[in-house]
């Protein structure tokens, strides 16, 4: 890219600058436009365009294997509403999202409260908490495949040793426990990250409140429920929202650990969509599924947003 000259011409120019209203200078506008061009261009081509293309695809019966490709209106969505596989995946996804987000938020808050105290080795503990976050999710899947192996898994061994179970549990190999195993793996991977976010939120709450509460004779419990939690609430809710939106898209864990099985018990909307797209090559129907997901996410975000606003308004007034 060419360097853009923004030099003030003449000796008198600098003194004139402050008088000019900002944002009306065409040269500045051009400079900013050029600076933003690579980013906006990339996002337009790789993120915005595909969403619009996805909407049009969802209204067609495009199938790569049979060369059909014509406009069919909302027919894909009609098929979707009567599709048992879709509703099964929808239920699994909602269940996964709700349970994992709740567990990660509560456990994460607990971890954050522990880390908020000063103690020796806190830096090391905090660093170790980044390990689950950094490990590729595909590797996490394999890791939990080994930990929860039905025959030689350490989890079965430990549970049997402490007499919590009598016989080996076939964790991700049974329809009963497969989704639970995926929730556990996700909670393992994401809770420490959640804790670090909440810790940052806790640290931004003023320390003088702490002292004031102590002087006033508040018990630690009172202090937590009456002061810390309400102040942390906005951070907590936003972190939970971001987490829920992310959990709703879960793909890597079920795809690698169970492939959506056994008997579709861990099929999520993302894995189902992926299968329709790249195994069935049904790009039209698959796109309709993806759009349905997009809409549900939007609803979750809006619902959360309204709740958050109400909450903030209530605590503010």
């Amino acid at each position: 890219m060419q360097p853009i000259p923004t030099v003030a011409e003449g000796p008198g120019a600098p003194s004139l600058r402050p008088a000019r209203p900002p944002g009306l200078d065409t040269r500045t506008l051009r400079t900013v436009g050029l600076l933003l061009l690579p980013t906006i261009g990339t996002l337009a081509v790789v993120s915005l365009y595909p969403v619009f293309r996805g909407i049009t695809l969802s209204l067609r019966n495009t199938t790569l294997s049979s060369q059909t490709d014509s406009f069919i209106g909302l027919q894909n969505f009609q098929t979707l509403l009567g599709d048992a596989q879709f509703w099964n995946a929808w239920r699994n996804t909602i269940e996964f999202t709700a349970v994992s987000t709740l567990l990660e938020t509560v456990l994460g808050l607990g971890m954050a409260l522990v880390l908020f105290e000063t103690f020796r080795g806190r830096g090391v503990v905090r660093a170790s908490m980044l390990v689950p976050w950094a490990i590729p999710t595909v590797v996490t899947s394999k890791m939990f495949g080994w930990l929860f192996d039905g025959q030689n898994g350490i989890i079965n061994y430990l549970l049997k040793g402490s007499h919590l179970i009598q016989a080996n549990v076939n964790w991700y190999g049974s329809t009963q426990h497969a989704l639970q195993t995926i929730v556990i793996a996700d909670v393992w991977k994401t809770t420490p990250f959640m804790a670090l976010l909440l810790l940052a939120g806790l640290q931004s709450i003023s320390g003088t409140l702490n002292e004031a509460a102590r002087v006033d004779g508040a018990s630690p419990f009172q202090y937590f429920w009456r002061i810390r939690l309400p102040l942390l609430m906005p951070t907590l809710l936003i972190a939970a929202l971001l987490r829920a939106l992310d959990a709703f898209r879960i793909f890597d864990l079920p795809y690698v650990l169970t492939g959506g099985g056994p008997a579709d018990s861990t099929e999520t909307l993302s894995t189902l969509t992926y299968k329709h797209l790249f195994s069935g090559l049904q790009f039209g129907f698959g796109s309709a599924l993806a759009m349905a997901m997009f809409l549900t996410e939007l609803l979750i975000a809006i619902g959360f947003g309204v709740f958050l606003l109400r909450r903030l308004r209530a605590s503010g007034g």
Partner: protein, 294 residues
């Protein structure tokens, strides 16, 4: 420190029951700390343990808690049978180039948004951040058609282009935060000295914002290194597939090769874990800025 001193005082002055309770609380607290550490690195250590054990130990009950005597057979298999180094090279190329482009494009955009008083810049920033919330499954099919149309399927560039778009919003956001904190006088003085916009960015702002560049660079590198779905959809042979695809495909016909999988996991995770431990402070600050302040 102050806390410990205070608790000592209290031990000395308060009745014994109280001090017992204090000791119990302290004990519980350290148990919780130990729990967090075990939680965070336990599964990783167990995988490390498995990667060093011969297969017959892995199938034994009770399990072997230490790899004694150990074996490097699994690591040998990973490199000399499965040719895992090819996936690693692919991932290094894809993640490396993605990071370079992310930092270049991202710093230009963040500079434009943070250092000029253009109306609507917060709106633009908001749109960029909102785009990062799009579910990726919704764009994978159209992008597949696009890549196929321009002959980019099964190439590095198909992944680099996608990862660039996925990484950019966070990079712009974090660098925007950095640039905005720097005093405006820096730009003004340079402008008077006759420096252009690019020059101001390159020789003044970027050197001061090096910590921000390290943070965002690491975040985009790790994200590209770990991404699975697009890599699975776009690449189809060992000369272009990245590590997650290689690990996911690690199966045998009749039994699961847990030892080999564990060794492969270690090979791709240890560099990442090392990076994270070295740069933990920067990563945490970048991540929390990316999420908390939104």
């Amino acid at each position: 420190m102050a806390e410990i001193a205070r608790s000592h005082q209290q031990v000395a002055t308060r009745p014994r029951q109280r001090s017992l309770r204090r000791v119990a609380t302290r004990l519980l607290f350290y148990l919780a700390v130990a729990g967090i550490v075990v939680w965070s690195i336990g599964p990783f250590l167990w995988q490390l343990n498995a990667s060093l054990q011969p297969d017959r130990y892995l199938a034994a009950s009770p399990p072997h808690f230490l790899p004694v005597p150990g074996t490097i057979q699994h690591y040998y298999n990973v490199f000399f049978v499965k040719q895992f180094e090819l996936y690693i090279i692919n991932s290094l190329i894809v993640a490396g180039i993605t990071t370079l482009f992310c930092l270049t494009f991202g710093s230009l955009a963040a500079y434009g948004l943070a250092r000029f008083n253009v109306q609507g810049r917060f709106g633009i920033l908001g749109v960029i951040l909102a785009i990062s919330m799009f579910p990726q499954i919704a764009i994978v099919a159209p992008l597949y058609l696009l890549m196929s149309g321009i002959g980019f399927l099964n190439t590095y560039q198909s992944l680099i282009i996608v990862y660039l778009a996925l990484g950019l919003p966070l990079v712009v956001w974090v660098l925007f935060g950095y640039f905005r904190e720097l005093p405006r006088e820096l730009d003004e003085a340079a402008k008077i000295d006759g420096a252009g916009a690019i020059r101001i960015l390159w020789s003044i702002l970027l050197p001061i914002s090096l910590p921000g560049l390290v943070t965002t660079g690491l975040l985009s590198f790790i994200a590209s290194w770990n991404e699975f779905m697009f890599a699975l959809a776009f690449t189809s042979d060992i000369h272009h597939q990245t590590i997650p695809v290689g690990v996911a495909n690690f199966t045998q016909l009749y039994s699961v090769p847990w030892g080999d999988i564990a060794a492969a996991s270690m090979v791709v995770t240890i560099p990442l874990v090392a990076l994270v431990l070295v740069f933990q402070r920067r990563i945490i600050s970048g991540l929390t800025q990316g999420a908390v302040k939104e």
